[in-house]
Structures are given as C-alpha cells and as structure tokens.
C-alpha cells in the first residue's frame, strides 16, 4: 500500500464506498431503467412484458395513460389531464410554492438567529427542531391538526364564531386535492424552513463583520447595510440552499403518504410508488427516470446560470 501511486491509493480507499453505491444505488438504477423499457399492465395487457423501447416514456409524456391506474390514483378534480400531467403539475406547484416560502421564512429565521441575544441557544433549538422531526410524526401532526371533529382548526358544530367561519366546517380537507395540497405545503414549510435557515445562517456567519463596521462609520443605516452588504454576500448561499430544497421537494413522498395517502395529492414519487404497487413496473420506472431527468435539468440550469457567475461553487 505504501508503494502505490497517489491515484491507485485514492481509488483503493474509495473501493468500500463505491461497492456500497454500486450495489445499493447504481445496480438498482440500471435495473430500473431496463424495466422502464418493457410493457406492463398499464401499457395494455396485449403486449405485457414485451420489450417496447421508449414507448412508456412517450406515452407518459403525451398523456396517453389517463385510463390506466384503477384504484383512484386520479382525484376527480384532476381527471381532465393524464396521470403524468397531474402528477407533474402537483409536484411543480408543491415545489415552487414551498421552496418560495421556505426561502423567505428561512431567511427571516436565519436573520433572527444571527443576532446576539439572551436565550439565543434555546431559540435556535426551537427553530431547528421541526427539521429533526421524523417524517411520519410530521405527517401525524398535520393529520391531527386537520382532522375533523377533534381539532379546533376544523369545527364540527354550527358555531358561527370567526374561527369556524375561517375553517372547513365538518369537512375533511385532507380528502380534497386543493386543500390537501395546501396543507402538505404548510407541513413542508413548517419542517424544512429550518433547514433553509441553518444553511443561510451558516452563510451569514461567514460574512466578514468588519464590513459592517466600515459601513457604520460611513453612516449607512441598518437597512442600507442589509441591502448593500448582507444581500449580495448571502445570495450565493441562498441559491445553493434553494437548489438543495428544490431537489428534495421534487421527490416529495413521505409527508403525502402519511397525511393524506397518495390518492388525493399525486406527486411524481407517488405515481412511481402507486404504479409499483399496481405491478406496473415499466410505468413506475419511466416516471422515476423522468423525475430524475427534470431534477437534472434544474441542477444543470442552476450550475450554468449561477455557480459560474460566482466563480464556481461546484
């Protein structure tokens, strides 16, 4: 080992990690891709199990699979579109809205945590904790909050009080696509704003404090300091954090499954799992790869547009 060249030594040390990734990630991905080239029950039973090339991809992208999933994958409010279009639509709405609010709230939380004040440790703990909450418990929390009959958020009585006017009286919002999507977005913002805040806080703390001293001497107001120093210096961090959240949000599954099951809010990952459960492996695999491709495009756009401008973060 001592006589190996640096390159050989590097690859030797990488062997354990690469074996794990090959067996647990690369092998299944290749197998899944291979599956995506075969017809399944959703492609019509006539050619079940036949090699059909990219037919699954074409049919999904052109929305020819609306007829396909038997067990109410498609909520009635989305029926006009194909299964893929609705899943993509729900996923994009979820991603854009939640990442947008997470960025704003996370930024606010990071600015608070960047201050020096008594009890800052505990405030930081309070703000971080939602991020550490297991997804199944996050789902349970929001399921309970919006469960008719028990919670004050959903009144059952005819009580005309303001609170009941504002809420869904006696209905189950989690069974309705639009309401359930909003609730899942709120749940996601609640949990992952903290992640955004942590990343942005780290960026804030790496800003050279002497810049603010100079600005103060020059007579800049707090707002001017924020606009001229904090914002430009923190933007690269914010963009990276948004990229990470976008990748994760595009794959959203757990919170949907635990609050409302995939029948009311069909995200792309839900479509993959639902078709897997229907033994429609070709369809499931194709959706998985299209999802990864969409994420890949988003990441590439990001790298080309932003990372280069900042002198290369990646």
């Amino acid at each position: 080992m001592e006589n190996l060249s640096e390159t050989a030594y590097a690859y030797l040390l990488l062997v354990p990690a690469l074996i794990l990734l090959l067996v647990i990630a690369v092998y299944p991905l290749v197998t899944t891709f291979w599956m995506s080239l075969f017809a399944d029950a959703l492609s019509g039973s006539a050619n079940l199990g036949q090699f059909v090339g990219i037919t699954n991809y074409v049919e999904l992208l052109t929305n020819q699979r609306s007829y396909a999933l038997p067990s109410a994958f498609m909520p009635t409010s989305l029926t006009p579109n194909g299964i893929f279009a609705s899943a993509l639509g729900v996923t994009l709405v979820f991603t854009l809205v939640s990442v947008f609010f997470e960025t704003i709230i996370g930024f606010g939380q990071a600015l608070v945590l960047d201050q020096d004040f008594r009890g800052r440790r505990w405030v930081r703990v309070a703000i971080i904790i939602p991020w550490a909450v297991p997804i199944v418990i996050q789902g349970m929390i929001f399921y309970l909050l919006f469960q008719p009959g028990i919670g004050f958020l959903i009144g059952t009585s005819q009580d005309p009080s303001l609170l009941n006017q504002l809420t869904w009286i006696g209905t189950t919002p989690l069974a309705n696509t639009v309401d359930a999507t909003s609730i899942i977005i709120v749940a996601d913002i609640w949990k992952t704003s903290a992640f955004m805040a942590l990343l942005i806080l780290a960026g804030l703390q790496s800003i050279d404090r002497s810049l603010y001293d100079v600005a103060k001497v020059a007579g800049a107001s707090q707002w001017q300091q924020f606009k001229m120093i904090t914002m430009p210096l923190i933007m690269p961090t914010v963009l990276v954090a948004m990229l990470f959240r976008t990748i994760a949000a595009m794959r959203v599954y757990g919170i949907i499954e635990t609050t409302s099951a995939c029948t009311t809010v069909p995200s792309l990952s839900c479509l993959v799992v639902t078709s897997f459960n229907q033994r429609a492996y070709g369809t499931a695999a194709s959706v998985a790869f299209i999802t990864a491709a969409i994420i890949g495009v988003a990441v590439s756009v990001y790298i080309v547009k932003f990372a280069d401008a900042e002198g290369g973060g990646f």
């Binding site: 299944p28 550490a132 499954e257 635990t258 993959v272």
Partner: protein
C-alpha cells in the same frame, strides 16, 4: 413574512408622531423615544419577529401535548387546552401497551447507530481521498455521487426488494456458478444498506471539507515519524477532525431517524422484523378506533430523542450543514 405586520406598525408610529405637542400618553412617549433611538425600534421589531417564529414552530408540539393529555371521551372539538382541568397523563403509558413502542424505538436506535458507524467508516476513507488527494476522475466521481441523490427513492425500490428477498443470484465470473444475495428482508441489513448509500454522500462532503482543512505538514510529519498512510489517516487526520466526524455522525443519525420510505417498505411492520418508529406510529391506528390521543402521545415520545440530540448538538448541526452543503 413575520416582519410584515411589524414594519406596518413602525410606519404608523412614525405617522402619529406629528401631533406630539398635544398629549404625551405612554404610547406617544414610547413613539418619540423610539424615533430618537431607532435601535430600540429595531430591537422591538426583532422580538416580535422572534416571537412569531417561536409560536409557529412550537405550536404544533403544544397541540400534540394538548391532544395527548385529553381523556379519550373528551376528544371532540378540543380547544387550546385539555378540557375539564384533568390531565390524562395515562396516554403516554397506554401507547406502550397498545403497541410495543419501546421495541420500535429501540429498532430505530439500532438502525441509526449501525448506519452511522458504516457511513462514518466509508465516508472517512472517501472524504480523505476527496479532501487530500489529487487524482484523475476526482470531479466526475463527486458529481456522480451527487447525481445519485437526484433520483426518487422509489427508483431504487424494486431491484433492492428483489435483492433483499433473495430473488437475485449473482453470477461468479468464469465459473458458471451463482451465489444468492443473502436474504436481508426483515433484518436490519435491508434498511441499513439503503440508508448508508442514501446518507453517505452528505457525510463524504462534510468530511471532505474538514479533512481538506488540515495542514499537509501534520500528515507529512506523521509519515516521517514512520506511520503508514492509513495510520496517518486514523491517528492524525481523523482525531484532528473530530468535530467534523461528530457532526457527520449526528446528521446521519438524525437522517435515519427521520427516514420514511425504506423504513416503511423494507420490513413487514412487525417489531421482531426490526421495523422502526414509522411502524410504531402507524400501528397505533386500530381496526375499530382511531385513538387520536395515543397518536399524539406517541408522536411526542418519538420526537424526544431527536429533540435532545438537537439541544446537545446544535452547534455541530449548524457547522456540519455549512461544511457539507456549501463548501463543495
């Protein structure tokens, strides 16, 4: 978001200051003093915003507590506090009678610790390679590791399920023989392996940063003293990066404890099959009733371990996410 109402307030206070000659109630005195001293206004704004964030992040936990303490027969239109002035502390004990919740928690801990050990070991080697060695293929390899995280977990599910249930034989080259992959379904292996592959990339990125910061001179000195290359890694580099290693460990453990997908699908949900917390929470929903108070109590119990970990390791979490996510 939180700052909106507050900035609205401060504009009105500036507006009312025009008639300060007329009367000096406590409010207008406060207003004029805050105009003279804008730092105080910023401070007040800051406390309002902080209070808003505390309220929004902590309220769901408070609501869980209220539900958990509500007696089952009073679970109708529960308000902001448990009804009737009686606290039903029993729920927290009943959870353990209804399902073996302690075994599910124990399983979660075992899975988390096993994964953390594997990830730290493999990611230490990889982090050393990426952080300290220059070799052809470094960039593409790191990009490939990152790219694996683009895929929805479901894209790994079926082949792994087949593999772990022993349905796949691995051919041994040149011999014509094949060995079955060990049957891992319903064992910790079926979850620890996917978890490790899933969470190793973040630890690699964290450790790459920490190991990369150690001056070359220290490693060279150890080598001159006669340690082997690996000896230098384990005796010099890793001890010097102890904070980074601890950080990667904490983040890996929290990620495993958080995980839903493989925890849910890679076992049959029985406590004896190493089903973690997920199964414990979901298993509470009975066939004939929905014990909301028990679900809430179980959720609180389930959150406690990570809450404690966050309290103890908050500095590490902040520094680790910076290193892992931003430096690469």
């Amino acid at each position: 978001m939180g700052s909106e109402p507050q900035s609205g307030d401060s504009t009105t206070t500036i507006g009312t200051s025009g008639d300060r000659e007329l009367k000096r109630g406590p409010f207008s005195r406060w207003v004029s003093s805050s105009i003279k001293n804008p730092e105080r206004t910023y401070r007040a704004m800051f406390y309002v915003v902080t209070a808003f964030f505390l309220l929004t992040t902590l309220f769901p936990f408070y609501w869980l507590l209220v539900l958990a303490l509500t007696p089952p027969r009073a679970l109708q239109n529960v308000g902001l506090y448990p009804p009737g002035g009686t606290l039903n502390v029993e729920s927290f004990a009943v959870v353990f009678q209804r399902v073996p919740f302690h075994i599910f928690m124990f399983n979660s801990f075992v899975l988390g610790i096993l994964t953390t050990v594997i990830v730290l070991l493999l990611a230490s080697l990889a982090g050393y390679v990426f952080g300290r060695l220059r070799f052809p293929g470094r960039g593409p390899l790191m990009l490939a590791i990152l790219a694996i995280s683009y895929f929805p977990p479901a894209a790994f599910l079926l082949p792994l399920y087949d593999l772990f249930t022993g349905n796949v034989a691995i051919p041994i080259p040149f011999t014509g023989l094949a060995v079955g992959f060990p049957e891992l379904y319903n064992t910790p292996g079926a979850m620890v392996l996917p978890f490790s592959a899933l969470f190793m990339p973040l630890s690699i990125f964290i450790l790459t940063t920490f190991y990369g910061q150690i001056p070359d001179g220290l490693e060279d000195a150890a080598r001159v003293e006669g340690t082997t290359r690996l000896g230098a890694l384990f005796r010099v580099i890793i001890p010097l990066s102890a904070p980074g290693v601890a950080t990667a460990g904490v983040l890996t453990f929290i990620s495993v404890y958080n995980e839903f997908f493989f925890s849910f699908l890679m076992n049959n949900g029985e406590p004896g099959s190493w089903a973690p917390l997920v199964a414990g929470i979901i298993g509470l929903q009975g066939q004939y009733d929905t014990p909301y108070h028990l679900m809430a109590a179980a959720s609180i119990i389930g959150v406690l371990p990570v809450a404690i970990l966050v309290i103890v390791a908050q500095e590490k979490i902040v520094s680790g996410l910076t290193a892992g996510a931003l430096k690469e």
